[in-house]
């Protein structure tokens, strides 16, 4: 058997359960924002290229929202990346180094994609036919970033591959050759495009009374995109399940009660979302989809634990207790939420006032 290269983890200040809780609390937020970004941009791009007036209006509205969404994708990504480093640092730091050259490329790629999004927003009209190209470049870069994230998140769960370091010291080891990589990445990508449809429909609803045609068009486009893409994604999901090592696949098929229940609930939620989208019931689709994303993140976490269980379980992390910083964090979090609430209220007041003034 080849030797395993797994670093010694550092100690943690509070029980691992707190970090798992915070990870599962914040990661769905990142996923939803990322889905809105990627799916919204793809649908906006498609609408822009379709060329009709209503389509261009919708594309423009998506373009205006995009920089704000990207800001929150990044922000909501920071917290789960922090907590996953605390829980699985010895794997994640190692896998990041193993693909270091690609991993660091994410930074310039994201900066270019983000500036592209701002350019697309601020110069939407002036750019003319160049606009979709800028949007396409941003989309390509963001999808490529997702590709690198998928590589790293899979690689960190496969420590038996870490020995390949010695032939990739320059950080060029990727995991897309693994049988489960492509279904995993496509499942994530298609899911993002589908949920992006619901985001587009939500954007259309903004000031619905002033632009009823746009709202109806956005809902039509958003729900139909969601319906088709989610249906396709269910099939890809099964492909992903079958591509997993047998032992892991069986976890969701009776091997583990919790994982099986979660899988069952996810299937029901997917069916519910598809049915609601088919019936054009937006909010019902929306809530089913949100719940589905949350359950999916739970299943993803389950899968990672199962990948690593022979070499590491979270209860092996040594706790050197110091709880006061965490309490301080929760106090800050509440204060931060109050501040954000105040900002939303004040902004809403402006929109209400402007609405009244026509």
């Amino acid at each position: 058997m080849n030797p395993l290269f797994i670093p010694q983890p550092d100690t943690i200040p509070v029980s691992w359960g707190w970090f798992q809780f915070l990870l599962l609390l914040t990661f769905p937020l990142h996923m939803l924002a990322m889905n809105a970004m990627l799916g919204g941009l793809a649908i906006g791009l498609a609408q822009h290229m379709c060329g009709g007036t209503l389509q261009k209006q919708l594309a423009h509205r998506i373009a205006i929202a995009l920089p704000l969404v990207i800001a929150f994708v990044v922000n909501f990504g920071v917290a789960p990346l922090l907590f996953v480093q605390v829980l699985y640092g010895q794997f994640l730091y190692s896998s990041s180094v193993l693909m270091g050259t690609f991993w660091i490329l994410i930074v310039p790629m994201l900066i270019i994609a983000y500036y592209g999004a701002y350019l697309y927003d601020f110069r939407f009209t002036q750019l003319g036919s160049a606009g979709p190209w800028i949007a396409a470049l941003s989309f390509f870069l963001l999808a490529a970033i997702g590709f690198f994230f998928s590589n790293n998140m899979l690689l960190m769960a496969l420590p038996e591959q870490f020995g390949d370091y010695f032939s990739h010291k320059n950080g060029t080891l990727l995991s897309f050759g693994q049988p489960q990589f492509w279904p995993r990445y496509l499942h994530m990508l298609l899911g993002a495009l589908a949920i992006g449809g619901l985001f587009v429909a939500l954007l259309g609803r903004f000031r619905k009374d002033l632009h009823p045609d746009l709202a109806n068009h956005a809902e039509e486009v958003g729900l139909s995109s969601f319906l088709v893409l989610t249906f396709a994604n269910v099939l890809i999901g099964f492909w992903y399940l079958l591509s997993l090592p047998n032992e892991l696949m069986l976890l969701f098929m009776g091997g583990n009660v919790g994982a099986t229940i979660a899988f069952g609930v996810a299937l029901l939620l997917a069916a519910g979302a598809l049915f609601a989208a088919y019936k054009k019931r937006y909010w019902l689709t929306f809530y089913h989809a949100i719940a589905l994303v949350v359950v999916m993140t739970f299943m993803r976490s389950w899968l990672r634990s199962a990948y690593l269980k022979d070499v590491f379980t979270l209860d092996q992390l040594q706790v050197v207790p110091q709880y006061s910083p965490m309490i301080f964090f929760f106090i800050t979090l509440v204060a931060g939420l109050v501040c954000l609430g105040w900002l939303i209220k004040k902004t809403r007041d402006v929109f209400v006032l402007e609405g009244k003034q026509g």
């Binding site: 290269f5 797994i6 670093p7 983890p9 550092d10 100690t11 943690i12 200040p13 970090f19 915070l22 920089p67 800001a71 929150f72 990044v74 922000n75 920071v78 917290a79 922090l82 907590f83 480093q85 605390v86 640092g89 010895q90 730091y93 190692s94 990041s96 180094v97 193993l98 270091g100 660091i104 994410i106 930074v107 994201l110 900066i111 983000y114 500036y115 870490f162 370091y165 010291k169 320059n170 950080g171 050197v320 110091q322 006061s324 910083p325 965490m326 301080f328 964090f329 800050t332 204060a335 931060g336 501040c339 954000l340 105040w342 900002l343 939303i344 004040k346 902004t347 402006v350 402007e354």
Partner: protein, 585 residues
Amino acid sequence: MNYPVWYLPETGGGFLIALISILHVFVSHFAVGGGLYLIYAEKKGLKENSQPILDFTKKHARFFLLVTMVFGSISGVGIWFIIALVNPAATSLLIHNFVFAWAIEWVFFTVEIGAAFVYYYMFGRMDSRTHLQVGWLYFIAAWMSLLVINGIIGVMLTPGSWAQDMDFWAGFFNPSFFPSLVFRTFIALMIAACYGFLSASFTADAGTRISMTRFSAKWALVTLVFTLISGLWYLSVLPDQSQGLVMGKSPTIAAIQPLTAAGFVSFLLLMLVAGIVRPSLNLKPVAGLAMISALVVMGGFEWTREAARRPYVINGVMYSNSIMKKDLAALNDGGFLRSALWVQNKEVSEENLELAGEEIFINQCYACHTVGGINNDIIAATRTMSYRALVSYLKKIHELRYFMPPFVGTEQEGRALAAYIAGGLHGKEVQEPQQDAGSVAKGPALFEENCASCHALEDLSSLQGVAKEEIVAMLRTLNEISEEMEPFGGSVEAHGQLAAFLGGHTDTAQQETAIDGKAIFETHCRLCHGVEEMAPMIGNIDRQEIFTLLGRLDQLESSMPPFGGTAEEQEALADFLASINQGGK
């Protein structure tokens, strides 16, 4: 050693960290100071009832948003990525200790984003009182982000008692926390003024350009003074060794200081001349030059701060190459390669000498040295050294150069590293020293072992023909020639041999083989003891007992070190001391 090394021999991780972090801090400090600048620019517009100034402020807010939200926030994530790639062990240690500080910073970052968007998109749409409140909320959140990050960065330079107990609060409120916070606050305001100066240069309306140029320059000059004062406070709380490095002992810092000073003077002059005296001179190239000057000052500070904690990445806790200080003894005893996880050669043999050496290089030296790159190239740094010089140099590397970590590992591993550098990189001969070499051959060997790490022989050609005694005297007082040198630590015999070699007196070197007990006394004892005072101290102690006592002088008097010469020299010195009461030899 616990984590793999991302090995880009010609680039080096340090260069990537410097590149990302210097650009990031120049923007992230703008993100803090710029918040307050926007508030006061808006207040100025409101107070003077000037729509052009309010328009300027809104345009500047858009510029602010584009620079800080995109480049600032993504390069901030970039720093996190790059430090985790280049030094995962230190990143992991800090993340695990200060996870909730980062989590708190994340909350402030979220509020910052929300407030920045509302401030820009609601400019002119929201009532000005609420709008200014949004500006204040932004600034407070941004400053709190700075405060939190300042606590974590500070622990790397001045860990205080955290180094012992790893207590979160002791680390966070470390000895440089407050001076660093005040210093960074002023530098953030200064940089914000510089960005304002730049925006003013792009303003078409002449009156607004002049007004906002003066406004920005006043900010810059006032904050510059406070930056200087708080900088001195910051410097005063640094540990002595870090202060020494900052004040010139670190060549890395010394190299950057003239540039930083030039940037500082340039910035000062530009603000005075093109900001206060003749604001109409604030044209785009002038403002661009001010930006470059400010970037140089900021870069100089960050560069200095990073280098001031050498040889550590976390001062007193973890060396730059990720080796924990507390692990040194165990690694020296048990061997570095055996303990390192990501190596293939666990043992050193004559067959794998260079391969094992390369793995040691990657794990111990590559953190700071590139191979053939621009930054701290190991090939250039060791060009004059032979294999033997390297073997000797590695043993005392941290003594000769305080800012370098000690070599960690067994003697055999030291040989492997020397073999990789001398043989693998330079293609030089890898040959063990000849133990039985005659005294003529010892001169070059002594030079290689003791001098060649810093000097090429031709650099010392001026010593050719100088009297041997004079060179011996110089060797004993090398520290008076340069602070970076220590007096030559060899035996009396070695002094003579090295001096003979340096002076070109190789024909006389053969005469140095006889060991002179009196000369040894002069070298080792004379600094504190005269010959005449030794006579009553020795009394009638016999020669053999004197020999024994020389080996444990510290037991006679704690301030005396045991005699450190060779056994032959100890014999000769014992003979000499025993002969004192008989009139000396």
